[in-house]
């Protein structure tokens, strides 16, 4: 610790926070210190445990282990109400506002010591006062539905300062904002810091860390991997720490023998769920017997890329071709019929139906054909035999084939998805973060399976944030940044530094 830090006492400290979810260690002995008047950035990939840690802080989750100190006092935070009483407030990614109510009404919703009939004039006056003090420019009488996303966020901020929050937690606050609104937010936060408030900023974008924060803590797979002073680090360094460089194991990889072209994207553009451009003119090809790795920090168009190829998302411009056949904006079923398999990033929400049996989940691609089903009728015995075969071949650890799949571990759920998708595949596999959150053994199994598909002549698109995974599995690596291709390099020639630069948006000549 430097002399400067020891002078200040942290307003907030978290010690050894550990939180288990079924099959996942979301936080593993995480420490955190926040000083008054400073912004701490919490950097990490999706699933690194940032949100879990913050949800513990606001009382939505209870930690399995660990302690929290606020202003030097040990505290137990059992509910958001407890957190609010301690001056801790969170602005969630999805705003918690009631659209049919006014700004002022939203601000006093849930305030504890509210009189039975609130004096709305008094509330509005205070809202105006606060709004002026921080230059928030919000009309207390406007209805939420009338406001832009940026204005709604300002209401969320007002809500917190109205309740006297001293510690503001912002969960990816700029994800929904235009660049101008982001700058506005930075300015508002600066004013608040001068008053001694402090903020924790959850993000996976390096630029934001550099722009907003004083300190940065990097989380990876639930563990705290680095504490840096923002001024003394660089986006490239942060990118490397975030995705990790540890070598898990060495994969035997045969030389790539590319066959015929399987997938081609020509100048493809598409929008994200909010209707903002997510892919901006992406062109790429993948041949049979080849793995194309897609590198990039999450949220730069990877998800949209996978969905465009699998027919789940509309293309606004450009063409998708599979084996030369035009597949632009075809339905998911038509894409499946072309032999395209997809291993989605969201295993539980998209990949499986949690309440249905492992066997049912394993046949969710094959049930359309004999021998599993004929003339619309399913054959339970054949289904069971087929499921047993896959469970055996892919070493899925399940008590019985009838067990509901949500009771399996994350690794086994992923193996079940892989089993189903690989079995149904004849041509192309799109795998999004296939080893994310898995332990070393399951990770190795997943990577070996993907390589085997490639050796069998299939084309593989591997989307990953883990550079080590891309180096060991991919044949070529394509880097996406803000929906654009920053470059494509052969995996054998790629190095972390140049990829890191491209991931940070610096284009390479290739």
């Amino acid at each position: 610790m430097t002399a400067e830090e020891t002078l200040k006492t942290p307003i907030l400290e978290m010690h050894g926070i550990t939180k288990h979810f079924p099959g996942v260690l979301a936080n593993d002995q995480v420490d955190l210190q926040l000083y008054p008047g400073e912004i701490l950035a919490l950097l990490g990939e999706n699933g690194a445990g940032k949100s879990t840690l913050m949800n513990i802080l606001v009382g939505l989750y209870r930690p399995d282990k660990g302690e929290i100190f606020v202003r030097g006092q040990r505290v137990e935070i059992d509910s958001p109400r407890d957190a609010a009483a301690l001056g801790i407030g969170m602005i969630h990614q999805n705003f918690m506002l009631v659209p049919t109510m006014t700004v002022a009404e939203n601000i006093i919703l849930g305030v504890q010591d509210l009189p039975f009939v609130p004096n709305m004039e008094e509330v509005c006056r205070r809202v105006r006062e606060l709004s002026e003090r921080y230059n928030l420019q919000v009309d207390p009488d406007a209805y939420i539905w009338q406001l832009s996303v940026g204005e709604q966020q300002r209401v969320e901020i007002l809500k917190l300062v109205y309740r006297g929050a001293e510690i503001l937690i912002l969960d990816e606050p700029t994800a929904v904002l235009t660049p101008q609104e982001s700058q506005e937010l930075a300015r508002i936060l600066k004013v608040m810091l001068t008053e001694g408030k402090s903020a924790i900023f959850i993000t996976h974008k390096m630029e934001e860390v550099m722009e907003f924060s004083d300190w940065v803590r990097v989380l990876r797979q639930g563990k705290l991997v680095a504490i840096e002073k923002t001024a003394e680090t660089s986006p490239q360094e942060l990118a490397q720490m975030m995705v990790g460089r540890e070598v898990l194991f060495h994969l035997e990889k045969q030389a790539c023998v590319p066959g015929a072209e399987v997938l081609e994207l020509r100048n493809v553009a598409s929008n994200d769920d909010k209707g903002l451009p997510a892919l901006k003119g992406v062109s790429l090809t993948i041949c049979g017997g080849e793995v194309l790795g897609i590198a990039g920090v999450a949220g730069n168009g990877q998800r949209e890329l996978a969905e465009v190829v699998t027919g789940l998302r509309k293309v606004t411009q450009g063409e998708v071709l599979i084996r030369g056949k035009a597949m632009t904006n075809k339905s998911p079923l038509e894409v499946i019929r072309e032999g395209v398999s997809y291993i989605p990033a969201d295993r539980i929400g998209v990949g499986v139906v949690g309440n249905m049996a492992v066997a049912d989940n394993l046949v969710m691609k094959g049930y359309r054909q004999a021998p599993l089903g004929e003339g619309g009728v399913l054959h339970p015995r054949q289904i069971l035999a087929f499921a047993r075969q896959l469970i055996e071949a892919f070493r899925i650890a399940t008590p019985t084939p009838q067990t509901r799949i949500k009771f399996l571990s994350g690794g086994n759920i992923q193996k079940a998805i892989l089993a189903r998708e690989i079995d149904a595949c004849h041509g192309l596999i799109v795998a999004a973060y296939p080893s994310r959150g898995l332990d070393v053994g399951a990770t190795e199994a997943v990577r070996k399976l993907l390589l085997k598909q490639r050796d069998d002549g299939k084309a593989v698109m591997l989307i990953s944030e883990d550079l080590e995974e891309l180096f060991s599995v991919a044949d070529r690596i394509l880097v996406l940044f803000e929906g654009q291709v920053m470059g494509v390099v052969p995996a054998a020639e790629a190095d972390t530094e140049s990829l890191g630069l491209m991931m940070a948006g610096i284009r390479q000549a290739s």
Partner: protein, 368 residues
């Protein structure tokens, strides 16, 4: 000390069975209190109700008469509920099924061979129910219109249409001014079982229950419906056509309610008149939930619900209490049911303040 509801990591199977059973008894207790307050002996009343509903073959057959439409509509809405489509329009689907079956019996039967009259009435009644559920299904599946509103509103349309018909154009000129149509020709009568009023609808309901079980557990379509009901995102990713399947499922849902209505007019009243439905379509919602959407449980729950209705009538005759006692009990079952489902997914944890916990940090700090 305070209480905390924690989400269970697995749905409790025991609770799945126990919750409906316990809720039934809780509602009996609540109803008992109500009876005691209004000055009646709860035990005597319940005994009278049980005798009224099950005391003799004749009484039981009357219970079946009310159970048959509950079975058919209960099966119908449980299909919709499995898809997470909140079809509360079984009442209207039933009514319209009755209206169309009556139309066939009254105005089309002359032009048909005698053996065709009844099948035509039942099938067109089913088609009418399917249409009445299909409209909200199409609106929901393709443009996202909230189905609770549309299905509920269409109830009033169907009910008012039926009233208009038997008060107006269909009123029997020889009916001494009573609202109601003329009696149907014998060719349009649905056979009754023995010399009771229970009818072939019972067989239809049992066939429908078996068919639904088969569809959901043994067919490709049912498999797709189950996936859609459980996880729409996964269904889309698996290439399943969600909108089309929701519409098809709702056509089946409405057809069963339509069949209930067609059976009512052709077997019980044998004319179009007031009292076609006594809220069967709404009670069906309770039936479906209590049966946990299991088609084989629906007939049993329907009989239980019908017993409350018939028993309520008996209480009125024998003990001079309002017959609404049965309806009140029916309604009361739903409250413990809804409260009880909480326990299938959550468990209650009692948290006592940890006095000793405040001492921990100091010792920890020393050790650091």
């Amino acid at each position: 000390m305070h209480f905390l509801f924690e989400k269970r990591q697995s749905i409790s199977r025991g609770a799945l069975v126990l919750v409906p059973v316990i809720s039934f008894f809780v509602s009996l207790i609540l109803g008992g209190i109500l009876l005691a307050v209004s000055g009646a002996d709860p035990f005597a009343t319940y005994a009278a109700m049980a005798r009224g509903a099950f005391g003799s073959w004749r009484n039981f057959s009357e219970t079946l008469v009310k159970a048959i439409p509950l079975m058919l509509t209960g099966l119908g809405v449980s299909i919709a509920f499995k898809m997470q489509f909140w079809n509360i329009g079984a009442e209207g689907q039933l009514t319209l099924g009755g209206v169309v079956a009556a139309w066939v019996a009254l105005f089309v039967s002359q032009g048909l061979p005698e053996t065709m009259v009844l099948p035509a009435a039942l099938l067109l009644g089913m088609a009418a129910g399917a249409l009445w559920a299909g409209i909200p299904a199409v609106l929901k599946a393709y443009i996202g219109v909230d189905e609770t509103l549309t299905t509920l509103m269409l109830n009033y349309v169907a009910i008012l249409l039926s009233e208009h018909l038997y008060y107006g154009p269909w009123r029997d000129p020889n009916g001494y001014g009573f609202p109601g149509s003329a009696q149907f020709p014998v060719s349009a009568w649905l056979p009754r079982l023995g010399n009771t009023r229970a009818h072939l609808g019972l067989i239809f309901a049992l066939i429908a229950a078996t068919l639904l079980w088969f569809i959901f557990n043994r067919t490709r379509w049912g498999f797709e419906l189950r996936i859609i009901g459980e996880n729409k995102t996964a269904a889309r990713y698996l290439g399943i056509q969600i909108a089309r399947n929701i519409v098809l499922a709702l056509l089946l849902s409405g057809a069963l309610s339509g069949l209930a209505g067609a059976c009512e007019v052709t077997a019980i009243s044998r004319r179009m008149q007031q009292g076609l439905s006594i809220g069967y379509g709404y009670t069906a919602i309770i039936v479906a939930w209590m049966a946990q959407l299991n088609p084989f449980a629906v007939p049993f729950v329907a009989i239980l619900m019908a017993a409350l209705l018939v028993g309520g009538d008996q209480v009125q005759i024998m003990m001079g209490l309002p017959s609404a006692v049965g309806t009140v009990l029916q309604g009361m079952i739903l409250f413990p049911m809804l409260a009880g489902t909480l326990f299938t997914e959550y468990r209650l944890r009692i948290i006592t303040p940890r006095k000793s916990a405040s001492l921990e940090p100091s010792t920890q700090e020393v050790s650091q």
